[in-house]
Symmetry: C2
Subunit: 397 residues, 2 copies
């Protein structure tokens, strides 16, 4: 067996032995490589005093703080009997999938930011390649979303898909499902998959059951990704761990709706902890489903985002459109008096609309020297804001 | 005439000559005092080369950058003919008011933060004393507010009044009027006036006309304050300047609703520039009346606030209630599994609800050593989350 194939098979096997973020397991892999890690766990070879010392170093442990490998072996041992990595890889291949490992070219480097909590491998189902971090934007939120949340999710996901982003979410009910759906509906012909669902269970399972059709469509048009092998159940622990992958994969994570306590906040905090941009959508202060978003805004964990342009701007260089002035150019037009100096504004305030007035009276009313009144009137006339009238000046609107 | 009475009369006069934030005029007052400033403007005495030099220094001007005093005199001259400070003070007294100057004990020190843009004096109408900065909270927003804005304003103003704050606003239609009304309706017996309206016109005028009854009530139960003398019109310039007083007076300024361009944003930026706390109320991303609030949140000028407790917390020590845990203690109760260690969470996930399972099976399912399964089950049993069952263990909900 080639070294690459050996690594792949070993990682497939280890991903069934280790729960996500098993740092002792990941440290063992970092120290001896996946194949030898598996041999040590199987009892075929011993780590030896040097291996144990390296492991302690990788875990930043001092001497005399217990034996992490012994604890690990006790934890992994009960699962050894179920190991069948060839069968798991065959299942994946049958589903049109592939195992993406740190040794393969497709590996998302963004996941390396997770350090020892990096996944062993990604079980990937779907034809498209995993896009680069800059093109991935996560949209997450409550399962029991409101009509408002669904509507904003649709706008954000559609707007991001149109800008060439791949929308990452968790495949759950509510905001997640709406994000996947809207991204698929708005996707353009492109080499970027419109959407990616990160699952807490194996990619052969459709969970929750009510999203089966949606998840089949995501597998067909986008990607289903999991760090646990086919057949694995979605446990609470795996849901929480899955959130770190959603947060780490993309350039930005947006929370559309979340209650005061919500898994979406966990994803947002993961993203912030990794230095990723985090956005939160504001909503009514009377909506319990926006309380979590407001919490993120209030404690400074997230930036306020109101549309896909905001999210793209937050995500960084790729796909961002020239900002700042885009709103001014839109619905709101500049008013003629914008940018006037203070004396000219005072003068404009003093000019009557329906009658005319003299320069001397204007000087007293506006609190300006007569000389400055004359100069200011000339500027306002040029700007179309003042006009000469019988016996003096008046405002022009 | 006593020195104090002389200062008062001079400031009353100067407040008709100078538009708000006339920095040259204020520098002149700072250098020679109000009475001599008035004499110089009247041409009764000359500032002299030394006075002119001090004035340039006070204005941080280099030599050869024109003569600010000459420009000032040309600006103030046309208004000299209208000066009648005794008449203005008599008008104020008839309305039950008083002139508050930096020389009086009631002067709000917070206004000194405005430096050369500090008002000359405050024309105050109403019986109550101006409260200290820590007890003043400004609520501002759109004139064309929505039902949502009105409802949130009511909650905030009433909540702040109940906490002993005086609610400061601008007496305008919409959010301002609602803030004044709700504060009055919720006010307690206290030495703090429930609400204060900062006007852009004289305190003898009711502007806008539709708020006359409200402004009369504010004068009766709270305070009307202006930096311009009785009879003065509310010009656009004075509205903008008035905003700086709203921002400077209080400990916090909250924007409830504001369009993308709104005077309320001007007030918020004044407050931020003075180092005051600024809050913005989130709303629907589809509401144009919340766009300005979201703009403040997005650019970091304001903190997200959703209720009076948030505002009080932002305002600082006075009246703030123990925070952080107040929401948890409220509607949302802790769930039994909160705070479980990762192994115990894995174990709980592995326990079946409707059947029982063995320790060995649990070890494989949860990915734990059998020894750790036993210890964990004991902890979960203690927490009421696991129960012994025929042949093993099951979950207890």
């Amino acid at each position: 067996m080639s070294r690459a194939a050996g690594d792949t098979l070993a990682r497939a096997a280890l991903s069934r032995l280790f729960e996500p973020s098993d740092t002792v397991g990941m440290a063992l892999v970092a120290v001896v490589g996946p194949e030898d890690a598996l041999r040590i766990i199987r009892g075929e070879v011993d780590a030896g005093p040097a291996g144990r010392r390296s492991l302690r170093d990788a875990l930043d442990l001092s001497d005399g703080s217990g034996d992490p490998l012994k604890d690990g072996l006790a934890r992994w041992g009960p699962r050894l009997q179920d190991l069948a990595p060839e069968r798991d890889l065959a299942t994946l291949e049958r589903l049109g999938g592939r195992l993406v490992t740190p040794e393969t070219e497709e590996w998302p480097e963004a996941l390396d930011d997770l350090q020892l909590a990096r996944p062993l491998c990604l079980w990937v189902r779907g034809r498209a390649r995993i896009p680069t971090q800059a093109r991935l934007a996560a949209i997450v939120g409550s399962r029991d979303s409101t009509a408002y949340g669904a509507s904003v999710t649709t706008e954000l996901a559609a707007g991001l898909a149109l800008r060439g982003y791949s929308v990452v979410s968790g495949g759950a009910y509510g905001i997640d499902a709406q994000a996947h759906r809207a991204a698929i509906a708005s996707s353009q012909e492109s080499d970027v998959p419109p959407t990616i669902a990160l699952l807490a269970c194996g990619v052969d399972r459709y969970y929750p059951a009510g999203n089966e059709e949606l998840l089949r469509t995501v597998a067909d048009r986008g990607l289903l990704i999991s760090e646990v092998p086919p057949g694995s159940s979605p446990t609470r622990y795996r849901f929480l761990q899955r959130n770190r992958l959603i947060a780490a994969l993309g350039a930005v994570t947006v929370v559309v709706e979340a209650r005061w306590r919500s898994g979406a906040l966990n994803t947002a905090h993961h993203a912030a902890g990794l230095g990723r941009a985090v956005g939160a959508v504001p909503g009514s202060v009377h909506s319990a489903n926006s309380a979590g978003c407001h919490r993120l805004l209030r404690d400074g964990s997230a930036v306020c985002v109101t549309d896909a342009a905001d999210v793209a701007e937050l995500a960084g260089p790729f796909g961002s459109c020239p900002s700042g002035d885009r709103r001014r150019e839109g619905a709101v037009h500049r008013r003629a008096q914008d940018g006037l100096s203070i004396p000219d504004l005072l003068l404009l305030d003093g000019l009557p609309l329906h009658a005319s007035t003299t320069v001397d009276k204007l000087a007293a009313v506006a609190g300006l020297a007569p000389r400055d009144v004359l100069a200011g009137l000339a500027r306002l006339e040029l700007a179309g804001l003042a006009a000469r009238a019988a016996g003096g000046w008046r405002r022009k609107d």
